[in-house]
Amino acid sequence: MGTFRALALHATSRVLEAALTLLAIFTLSFLVMRFAPGSPFDRERPLAPEVRAGLEARYGLDRPLLSQYLSALAGFATLDPGPSLVHPERGSVTNLLGDSLARSAELGAWGFLVAVAFGLALALATTLSARPWQRETLRTVSQIGLVVPVIALGPFLVEVFAVRLGWLPPGGFDGALARVLPAAVLGLVYGAVFYRLFQGGLDDTLRRPWPLLLTALGVRRRRLVARHVLPASLTPFVSFLGPALSGLLTGSFVVERVFNIPGLSVHFVDATHERDYPVILAIVVLYAALLVGLNLCADLLATALDPRLRHGETTSR
């Protein structure tokens, strides 16, 4: 009972913190955007002053900054950030981003799965391999994703598998085959990050006394690692899940552009060039909300898994 109350208290405080963080991010991006040069109504040919004034009045851009801020905040709180300033014909920002969000999220999920599989497989192989040169080779292979950026890896894989071999489509997001390359690229890059976490966890756990005891009791190494050491060494992975997913989200941003996937990144880049304030703000807040939410989940998960974290030294140290 006491445990449950402590957990609930911890969860409440973390949720409040997350909400405050989101508010701060909203405010910051709102201010940065408004002080950036340029306006959504800059066109190739300047608009007539009265047309411009009319547009600004229609979207409330002529009101004082504080009033604009409050109405924007109210819009976001009710999940309706209003229409796009540059493309009002496309409907509200929520409609505009809905489909793309689904695609981005799906890509991120596939990338995450591939990354975990890749990182875990290589980490286990490294731990189980006996010879130093095998370990060193696996370690080097796992780091490819860290040193070859997505913008090189993507076009290279497209050239090989789409253009030369013709096995996979070069881009887009139609059909299962089109998801293979983007997910593989994302998985390769973040698999390298996950590999370091898994590998570090396995190494640390293996250095403790009890695996030695189990070995002395006659447990085979393969079984020892798979059944006993691996479950005990997942803590660094779980506690790093939040930042890792944040990296995955940002990475999927680039992957979307490399493979021409109509996800959120298209809207963001267009919107920054056009100064489409509600769209920029919506995407930034959306990503931040995802990050904060994922961090929150990872944090609560770690707390639930490891009772020590609930008492005394909590997170963020």
């Binding site: 955007m33 040193v147 913008i151």
Partner: protein, 402 residues
């Protein structure tokens, strides 16, 4: 362990070698590649590695005296403007031979295709004589490739820039005694990019700029992080909590958004780019510095400095921060590859460095446009970037193990 140390040493050597190469880019441009980074060669778009080009501004000379006789058509022992202009026209008609008369587009002008070219080749034929086809067909396979045509027109490509180089007495004409031979062709060692620019020169310059950006941006973030974390750790209490909570907030925004918004606000330009990258990467460092300064504040180092009557800021900047920086060094090293990658992503979004200076990121983006024609255009910058990043990663890891 010994194996890892050897690996570290190899990585260090590769890193130092690369940085030296980057620093030597202007020398390489003058003595090795003979191309400048922005020089476009429209006849050589996406040429493959090893293609030879028309002579550039600072060629070497082949020293063949026969060339002078062929160029000096009136036999007065001097080369004037008129003779050079004729040669230039002849060379131009030759160079378009392949583009215009290769009827079946197989990259070779054969004997059968050649007669159609004869009228257009009149200026060149006057130079090369009746057997012009055989004279150009160096490998005697009955077909002219672009390489053979370029090679054959080498002598005719003497430009006024070259005359100025050869003309030692400055009278505007070349005498026989001033002749040092026809210009040797410069080679695109790695081929060219989609605009016909020499890849090797651009990779060297890109390496230089990327290394610069990485080091400078890392320095900015290190300074910022050290100050921020130092102040937080030194003051403690609610200031510390507020400052650290600020970092948590910034952590929740994907860095690409922050950089894009910053570049949007500051405007494009190298300095703003450095600032934008530096303003994003400092947070992990600030956390480490905060912990370290907070620890040092409880030691005798702090106490004795304060007992000497030094003001607080001086104790922090002169005494606590330098000691705190030792365990922080590996983190600072890892900031360099992070900054280099950030710049590459920004270049990909069109927010990075602007022409004429290429960074490795710009080169990757350019290279991706023409991987099919010249794979080196993507592979070379990617390889250089990989070695650079791996070197810095390895360095950071080695220092944190120590």
């Amino acid at each position: 362990m010994a194996r890892r140390r050897a690996g570290d040493r190899a990585a260090m050597a590769a890193l130092c070698g690369l940085i030296a190469l980057g620093l030597a880019a202007p020398l390489a441009e003058r003595w090795l590649t003979h191309f400048s980074q922005e020089e476009q060669h429209p006849l050589f778009l996406q040429a493959t590695a090893g293609t030879r080009d028309v002579p550039v501004d600072h060629p070497t000379w082949d020293g063949d005296p026969a060339g002078f006789q062929r160029l000096d058509r009136d036999g007065d022992g001097r080369l004037g403007d008129a003779e050079l202009a004729d040669a230039e026209a002849a060379a131009r008609s030759l160079l378009f031979l392949e583009a215009r008369f290769d009827a079946n587009r197989d990259g070779r002008v054969t004997r059968a295709e050649a007669p159609a070219a004869a009228p257009a080749l009149a200026p060149a034929a006057a130079w090369l004589g009746e057997g012009w086809f055989e004279a150009l067909d160096l490998d005697r396979d009955g077909g002219l490739t672009r390489a053979e045509i370029v090679e054959g027109s080498r002598l005719l490509r003497l430009r006024s820039a070259h005359v100025a180089l050869l003309d030692t007495d400055g009278d505007g004409v070349l005498a026989r005694s001033e002749w040092r031979g026809a210009p040797e062709l410069a080679t695109f060692w790695l081929g060219t990019d989609y605009q016909g620019r020499d890849l090797l020169t651009r990779v060297l310059y890109g390496l230089r700029l990327s290394a610069w950006i990485g080091l400078a941006a890392a320095l900015i973030s290190a300074l910022l992080g050290a100050l921020y974390g130092g102040v937080a750790g030194y003051l403690g209490g609610w200031t510390e909590r507020a400052l650290m909570r600020g970092i948590d907030v910034l952590y929740a925004v994907p860095f690409l958004f922050v950089i894009s918004l910053l570049v949007m606000t500051l405007g494009q330009g190298l300095l703003n780019l450095l600032l934008a990258i530096g303003l994003v990467q400092w947070m992990p460092l600030a956390r480490v510095v905060r912990g370290e300064v907070a620890r040092l504040r409880g030691t005798d180092l702090y106490l004795s400095a304060r007992l000497l009557g030094l003001p607080g800021w001086r104790v922090l900047v002169r005494h606590l921060l330098p000691s705190a920086l030792v365990p922080v060094a590996p983190f600072a090293t890892l900031l360099v590859p992070a900054a280099i990658l950030d710049e590459a992503f920004l270049s990909f979004l069109g927010l990075g460095v602007q022409p004429p200076n290429p960074s490795l990121g710009v080169l990757l983006v350019d290279g991706a446009r023409g991987v099919g024609a010249n794979p080196f255009a993507l592979a070379c910058p990617a390889l250089v970037l990989a070695i650079l990043l791996a070197g810095f990663h390895r360095l950071g890891d080695a220092r944190s193990r120590r």
